[in-house]
């Protein structure tokens, strides 16, 4: 025997299986809490603090009175919980003459959000499907222009779009703002759906064609049901983007449909008026609530969806 081994163990293999005795020394079992592990948790803690700090300050501030805000540190805990700013922000904050808070905008935002998200996802998925499964002439050119367009600042579009929509006669309406969101959502939506569909097996599509499916049937019955992960990703991106949009809603939605962000802007941004930071924060949190809830609920799906869709990049 060459290597030094405890005698008990040396004998063991010969005695077995008659004697199922274990060697005394089994070697060290590694410790669970290695320095690497501690470092990892330290990093996560610091990162979490970095990401949470603004949220904490927002919540603290929203619960303070204005005097407390003026006098104290922004990190100080609220002396006593004061929800009046929340109530004010939601239902009594004034925008010009109407003092209904930001809740009016909430429903407007929903009204804009739902059709915009649905339609822009529909448009992106259909276009992505057409471009990746069907041989369409000039598909690449179309796609390239779309991507290039994604890099233009929105603001440049506003004037020509206004002219265009007033020619069409739907300027300043729900239809108008929804169309705008569909247009601006198209590049990224097409991109992610195209990439996702590029990862789906071509054979599946072929099978459906042999089975007799046409463009729409294959899409509806075969492709769409497989798109759940990427639909979730698309939905999250669009919900966030559309909900947080301000300038498009302001210019195109029309007076009756102004989204919540416009109200938020009215509450938060004044040039000459008093700034009520507590209400601003409350209003902000309230405005961000919808996308936040979406993230909380579907964060796990988001990662999975990207995982499913990004195989091809």
């Amino acid at each position: 025997m060459s290597s030094p081994r405890p005698t008990v163990a040396a004998a063991a293999p010969l005695e077995r299986p008659a004697n199922r005795q274990k060697s005394v020394e089994r070697g060290r079992k590694p410790k669970r809490l290695t320095p690497g592990r501690i470092g990892l948790y330290a990093f996560i803690a610091v990162a979490a603090a970095f990401f949470l700090l603004p949220a904490v300050i927002m919540i603290f501030t929203s619960l303070k009175s204005m005097d407390e805000i003026r006098d104290g540190s922004i990190f100080a805990l609220p002396q006593h919980l004061d929800f009046s700013a929340w109530i004010a922000a939601w239902s009594t904050a004034c925008t010009g003459l109407s003092c209904d808070g930001i809740r009016v905008g909430f429903w407007n935002s929903i009204k804009i959000l739902v059709p915009s998200v649905v339609l822009s996802i529909a448009a992106g998925s259909i276009l992505g499907y057409a471009l990746s499964f069907w041989r369409v002439r000039g598909a690449n050119v179309l796609f390239a222009i779309l991507l290039l367009g994604a890099f233009l600042p929105y603001q440049i579009f506003i004037y020509p779009m206004v002219r265009g929509f007033s020619l069409l006669g739907i300027y300043n309406s729900l239809a108008c703002i929804v169309t705008i969101h569909v247009i601006f959502g198209l590049p990224v939506m097409t991109l992610i759906f195209r990439n996702f569909y590029a990862g789906l097996p071509q054979e599946l599509f072929n099978a459906a064609r042999v089975d007799g499916g046409g463009f729409w049937r294959i899409f509806l019955y075969v492709i769409l049901p497989m798109s759940t992960p990427i639909l979730i990703v698309a939905a999250i991106l669009q919900i966030t983007g559309i909900w947080n949009d301000f300038i498009l809603g302001l210019v195109f939605a029309g007076r009756e449909n102004l989204p919540m962000t416009v109200q938020l802007n009215n509450v938060v941004n004044t040039t000459y008026g008093e700034r009520t930071y507590n209400m601003n924060m409350a209003a902000t949190i309230l405005t961000a609530a919808v996308p936040l809830v979406v993230y909380f609920v579907s964060g796990r799906w988001f990662v999975r969806g990207i995982a499913a869709g990004a195989v091809k990049g």
């Binding site: 369409v136 890099f151 603001q155 463009f215 301000f246 993230y295 964060g299 990662v303 990004a310």
Partner: protein, 296 residues
């Protein structure tokens, strides 16, 4: 021999409206933008052409030059920073840590916040009289300085930090998805070879995540070119013009300063810059090696 029938396939038919839309909305706007940039339009577009006057004016504007410089700094640092932070977060979450769901949400939520808020909060945090500096000084470290938002030299970096705060969650999600897709055998192979994890990540995993990194870079650079809200909310381009960016330049001249000729000239410059970077890259990433597929 039968001749090939000419059919208007549904696929083509479906793509037509997309074409119409792209031509009208995107190409139309681009053409319009360029056209206006050659006029001396003020508040509203007019068609008195002035040649390259607006461009001359543009490039003799210190603010525009500072903006260009800033967007370069911001772009590089923001993209690099978000990628690094996002990647590190993804790696951390990939170590089978507890509360992964909660942590993921914590890292991701800033992406759901509008820039208005991000800017305001970070403005506070980086304000010497209100934020971190004051808090740390109150804890006894008198000489501590963290006044980036009001410091001419550092303001653009303040914007970078806030931007990273907001966007690295998205990168994290993308990267985490990529990490989850890595073959377990690969990890085993590296363990057998005794390659330390950090090297595995750096030399093996990162190159493998290339497609995802590209997606992330596309999304982030869209953000860079359009960077406006964040700057407005955080520094308003200041102190002075220290943190001006092109999108804000365009916005200001479009709406406040009522010179859309100049604004469109600026936009055209941006567009051409982006296009000249993007086009070759798009070609290489998406089309050249695109697997030919698709039905007849």
């Amino acid at each position: 021999m039968t001749t090939r029938p000419r059919r208007l396939r549904m696929a083509t038919f479906v793509v037509l409206p997309a074409w119409a839309l792209v031509l009208a909305a995107y190409v139309g706007t681009m053409v319009w933008t360029m056209q206006i940039s050659f006029t001396d339009s003020k508040l509203l577009p007019v068609d008195t052409y002035v040649g390259f006057d607006q461009y001359e004016r543009l490039f003799s504007s210190t603010r525009w030059l500072v903006s260009l410089q800033n967007v370069a700094i911001f772009g590089v640092l923001f993209i690099a920073g978000s990628l690094v932070v996002g990647f590190l977060l993804a790696v951390a979450l990939d170590q089978h840590v507890r509360f992964e769901n909660t942590l993921r949400t914590i890292f991701l939520y800033p992406y759901a916040m509008s820039f208005i808020v991000t800017g305001l909060i970070w403005q506070w945090l980086m304000n010497p009289g209100l934020g971190i500096q004051k808090a740390v000084q109150n804890w006894g470290w008198e000489s501590f300085r963290f006044d980036w938002a009001v410091n001419r030299e550092m303001a653009i970096y303040a914007v970078v930090i806030a931007g990273i705060w907001q966007a690295s969650g998205l990168v994290m999600a993308l990267m985490l998805a990529g990490l989850r897709g890595i073959d377990a055998d690969l990890w085993k192979a590296t363990r057998i070879e005794g390659i330390p994890p950090w090297r595995v990540y750096l030399f093996i995993i990162v190159p493998m995540l290339r497609p995802l990194i590209i997606t992330a870079v596309v999304l982030l650079s869209i953000g860079v070119v359009k960077a406006f809200d964040l700057v407005v909310a955080l520094t308003s381009g200041g102190p002075g013009i220290a943190s001006e960016v092109p999108a804000k330049f365009i916005m200001d001249y479009l709406f406040t300063r009522q010179n859309i000729g100049l604004a469109t000239a600026a936009a055209t410059v941006m567009l051409i810059t982006v296009a000249s970077v993007l086009t070759p890259w798009l070609y290489f990433e998406y089309f050249r090696k695109a697997r030919p597929r698709g039905a007849a």
